[in-house]
């Protein structure tokens, strides 16, 4: 896997994913190994992203690497009209690996094929965000000690949510997953992905209310419902509270239940949940550092 870009979660086999997760455990135990002290990593954020960028930069810094780059396109030569090809060609001369976020879909794949410098996709529009997917898998494994035989509830905007689609596809590589899909009618998981679940030997059920599933699941993966997704604003007002998690709703849930959220959260998880031991979304955000360290080390041939 050395010198191989990570553009889409579909680029990695199940074995490769498990290997990255295993390496991430090593970094969780010891995140400050100076293995990147002779490396320069380019961090090209053509659109702003606080969490992903800081998580990558923290991962690189903790490994002793140097970072060059920009945090939004307005402060780069892109503003002058430079093509993505030229930007990547140039930055490749200055760095060993490129971390890139870009608003256009397919931009990361294109960047990875310009020359031999490996690229890690930190999000290309609504297309792929594979490091998020890997840290979600890591968090599930960390809390349940397995990736097979799980009841996973996905809540919120299942129609447009990129992280949800990637997670479903990645989890389908494992065995015997029961997906519980909780969303407003307007924002149900697309048919093609539901077909994918069944074709891979798993099952799903659909609900419109969290309370219908909350006592029978191992993972509760919350996402935000955006008001602008609704054509009918009255409908939004009517359903929005069905997708807000309150601490009292967890009273009869399984002991091993853990709550995940790709963040940022707005109001879909009440702050009174934060102190519950089942809340795992901040650890999940921290896991992003370990998983990204594992990826950097793997792709640069240091693991």
């Amino acid at each position: 896997m050395n010198n191989r870009s990570l553009i889409s979660i579909n680029d990695y086999s199940k074995e490769e994913i498990l290997q990255v997760l295993k390496t991430a455990e090593e970094f969780e135990a010891n995140p400050r190994q100076k293995i990147l002290k002779n490396h320069v990593i380019a961090s090209l954020f053509f659109e702003p992203s606080t969490r992903t960028r800081l998580s990558f930069e923290s991962a690189i810094n903790q490994l002793g690497g140097r970072i060059i780059g920009f945090t939004d396109a307005s402060s780069s030569s892109v503003k002058k009209g430079e093509s993505l090809r030229d930007t990547i060609e140039t930055v490749s001369l200055y760095s060993d690996l490129i971390v890139m976020r870009h608003p256009l879909e397919g931009s990361a794949r294109f960047a990875s094929e310009i020359n031999d410098t490996p690229v890690i996709n930190a999000g290309d529009g609504a297309n792929q965000h594979p490091t998020q997917c890997l840290l979600d898998l890591y968090s599930i494994k960390q809390t349940q000690n397995r990736l097979d035989n799980l009841d996973i509830a996905l809540v919120g905007d299942l129609k447009y949510g990129r992280t949800v689609h990637s997670l479903v596809i990645a989890m389908s590589m494992f065995k015997n997953i029961r997906f519980h899909l909780v969303s407003p009618i307007e924002l149900k998981l697309p048919r093609s992905i539901k077909d994918f679940i069944v074709a891979n030997g798993h099952s799903y059920k659909q609900y419109t209310d969290i309370s219908a599933v909350i006592n029978n699941i191992d993972i509760l993966y919350m996402t935000r419902i955006q008001q602008e997704r609704f054509a009918d604003q009255l409908e939004y007002e009517r359903v929005k509270n069905s997708y807000v998690l309150e601490n009292s709703m967890l009273d009869n849930s399984r002991d091993n239940l853990r709550i995940l959220h790709p963040m940022p959260r707005v109001n879909e998880i009440d702050e009174n949940v934060d102190s519950n031991k089942k809340a795992h979304y901040f650890q999940q955000a921290q896991n992003g550092v370990f998983v990204r360290q594992a990826l950097l080390a793997t792709i640069l041939g240091l693991r």
């Binding site: 993505l84 294109f110 290309d124």
Partner: protein, 153 residues
């Protein structure tokens, strides 16, 4: 009778290729896809000709030009019914249909307005995922472009 007439027209070429049974309205598109607009030898083409099989059809005859499968399969996206007839010394030496290729490179447009290929100078590339009801997956943005949505560059 119709067939005989067609044969006669075909025989009029000494050497070259006849592309017959092009769906009506797609002749110019086929010319463009095969880059015949810049071809310097003689080309005859007809549109909206009567066809027993298809009602209306188009036909293109290209003098002293033969096509490789890779080239000709490009037209299968717009003209899946096309028949290719190669003529050498006034004789038909080969007659064949067209096949939808596994990958489509450089001449179709991705339907996704947010795809990088619609914003920068990048050669498009698709993987054909369904040859019956044409569906192509973009190599870059991974979105599917369907038959009715295919546009050519």
């Amino acid at each position: 009778m119709e067939n005989k007439k067609t044969e006669l027209k075909v025989s009029a070429l000494e050497n070259g290729t006849v592309i017959d049974h092009i769906p009506a309205g797609h002749v110019l598109q086929v010319m463009r896809i095969l880059n015949l607009e810049n071809f310097e030898d003689q080309i005859y083409f007809g549109a909206n000709l009567d066809s027993k099989k298809y009602g209306k059809k188009g036909i293109i005859k290209v003098t002293n030009r033969f096509f490789k499968d890779v080239e000709i399969n490009k037209i299968s996206l717009v003209a899946p019914t096309a028949t290719l007839i190669e003529i050498r010394d006034f004789d038909v030496t080969k007659k064949s249909g067209v096949n939808i290729p596994d990958t489509v490179e450089g001449f179709a447009k991705c339907i996704n307005p947010k795809c990088i290929t619609n914003h920068q100078q990048i050669t498009t590339k698709f993987y054909v995922t369904d040859k019956v009801n044409l569906k192509m997956k973009c190599h870059y943005c991974e979105k599917i472009t369907k038959k009715d949505d295919v546009e050519f560059l």
